[in-house]
């Protein structure tokens, strides 16, 4: 899995899932079509053209509510990777289940990336899952690490439920203990 695209920088730490998609848009019963409500109350974000597949942001991205509508909305908008200083736990888990790569990079690497994007907003950034690297043209690469099982599932198109269900006999045995 390899994402190459220009990137949108969304400055700020602790961007919670109520910002990613406000609760008033949670009354549907489908996963689709939520991109139009992504960051609905953030005019600065809404001015970006759709097309970028990478979002760059601060610490603790996706904190707060467990709503999976947050990664659904990001993916529906077109994002395939979020590069952040750190992620909230539930968001990170929800992201990988929807093919959205949560890429945690150290502060210095994020600053370097943001400066490069400031100088050239069209700069193509590559997130390569297999090698766990983020690379910039003419600026080398930065290593990241991701949960190995999530990586395995993403690279091989596996889903977690199928994996869990391979343990059906042991689940039954646990229930009969």
């Amino acid at each position: 899995m390899n994402v190459t695209s220009h990137a949108v920088v969304l400055p700020g730490d602790d961007i919670d899932t109520d910002q990613i998609i406000p609760a008033r848009f949670l009354k549907g019963t489908r996963k689709t079509g939520l991109g139009e409500h992504l960051f609905a109350d953030w005019p600065a974000f809404r001015r970006h053209e759709r097309g970028a597949r990478i979002l760059v942001t601060g610490h603790n991205f996706g904190c707060g509510s467990s709503r999976e509508h947050a990664p659904w909305a990001l993916v529906d908008w077109g994002f395939r990777a979020v590069i952040a200083r750190s992620f909230a736990d539930i968001f990170r888990q929800n992201a990988t289940k929807n093919g959205l790569l949560p890429v945690a990079l150290p502060e210095a690497a994020c600053v370097r990336l943001e400066l490069a994007l400031q100088a050239n907003p069209a700069l193509p950034v590559t997130v390569d899952l297999a090698s766990e690297r983020v690379s910039l043209p003419d600026a080398g690469w930065i290593a990241f690490s991701i949960d190995p099982f999530a990586k395995h599932c993403l690279l091989n198109g596996l889903d977690e439920l199928s994996y869990i269900l391979t343990f059906s006999d042991r689940i039954t045995a646990h229930e009969q203990r």
Binding site: G12, L26, K27, S65, F167
Partner: protein, 461 residues
Amino acid sequence: MKRTLFDKIWDAHVVAEEAGRPAVLYIDLHLVHEVTSPQAFAGLAERGLPVRRPDRTVATMDHSIPTNGLPIADDAARTQLRTLADNCRRHGITLYDADSAHRGIVHVIGPELGYTQPGMTIVCGDSHTSTHGAFGALAFGIGTSEVEHVLASQCLLQTKPKTLEVRFEGALPDGASAKDLVLAMCAELGVGGATGHVIEYTGEAIRALDMEGRMTVCNMSIEAGARAGMIAPDAKTFAWLAGRAHVPRAAAWHAAVDRWRELHTDDGAVFDRTVVIDASRIEPMITFGTNPGMGMPIAASVPANPADARLARALEYMGLTPGEPLLGRPIDVVFIGSCTNARLSDMRAAAGVMRGKKVAAGVRVLVVPGSQAVKRAAEAEGLDRVFRDAGAEWREPGCSMCIAMNGDAIEPGQYAVSTSNRNFEGRQGRGGRTFLASPETAAAAAITGRITDARTLGESP
């Protein structure tokens, strides 16, 4: 091997664990509501899978349901609620439906009906599932994909989190509540400070809390980023649960209590991290910013730190000036409710402040009990009269203005003092501005129309 409370529950629920893979963790109780489940049931249908254990699955309607009674006017909410009812009927899942006498906020009715028990693993598609940890359960919020996993397999894939002991030494002073204690913790740890950890709350101040206070504390574990929060069960836990609808009976009850007595962290067990907080110094708290970690003692001044961009943005949204005090600041709305503070003790605390008084002119006060059972119990004590006579609205149970997706919302620019758990931008309504506080502080603000220290209410200004 000395083990923590968390270790004991984790170990007892690992079904399988392959090298380099997360553990397959068995889930004893799966709580379901209308907002985060429809896509999970649809996923099951696509795969042609049944619900593995409908007997371990319990559903209620809380998030999008109106609190001003039936019928439901909002088409989208009505469809979402009907979808839940259809899914529960199809799969044989117990549902506390819109007109059920036991319906309520999922984290209020789980314990109330005795579904929540010590030693269990409990999940729900809601981040405040941590509430149930008050009973010595491992309880955490999950996304909708994981709701589907649990429906289909009664299991989840989980990487073992780290453990964090938060020890509250000393006694909580009079006038400070469980809500103040947990807001003080969020201020200490920060909104992401416990990420990757399960918190165990220990210490004298935690032992002294009643079960409802413990639920308030565990509820907000997620507001410090924790995966879950838990408190070892004790005599208070067992007494609170005894006789509830879904706990074991007779000899099975006594056997269960004997098992539950083992659910404590062994002497000498090691946590990955420990934070010690002096409970004796905790005062009534209020938030000033746009996440629950931005809190301070109610009489303090809004912090001033020109170098902190996060703070600057928060204060700009809140319309506050660095260095200004909050006491005396006019407010527009008071919300008393939510899975954090909508139990009977919370209703009593708020009514205690409001009894015989009137809501300040121009202030809207919404009191939303956490469940039909809380509503009935409060009405039996006449608390509804206290609120109504004061000029507050006494509503039907639900999440209401905590998440503001059911029509209960504050207006853009308005200020609310709220007993709920999140002060994120727009959380209680687009453009709305939230001060999180205890039921006592919220009730005091209702009476004066200003941010008020409940300890000084009635004294001349």
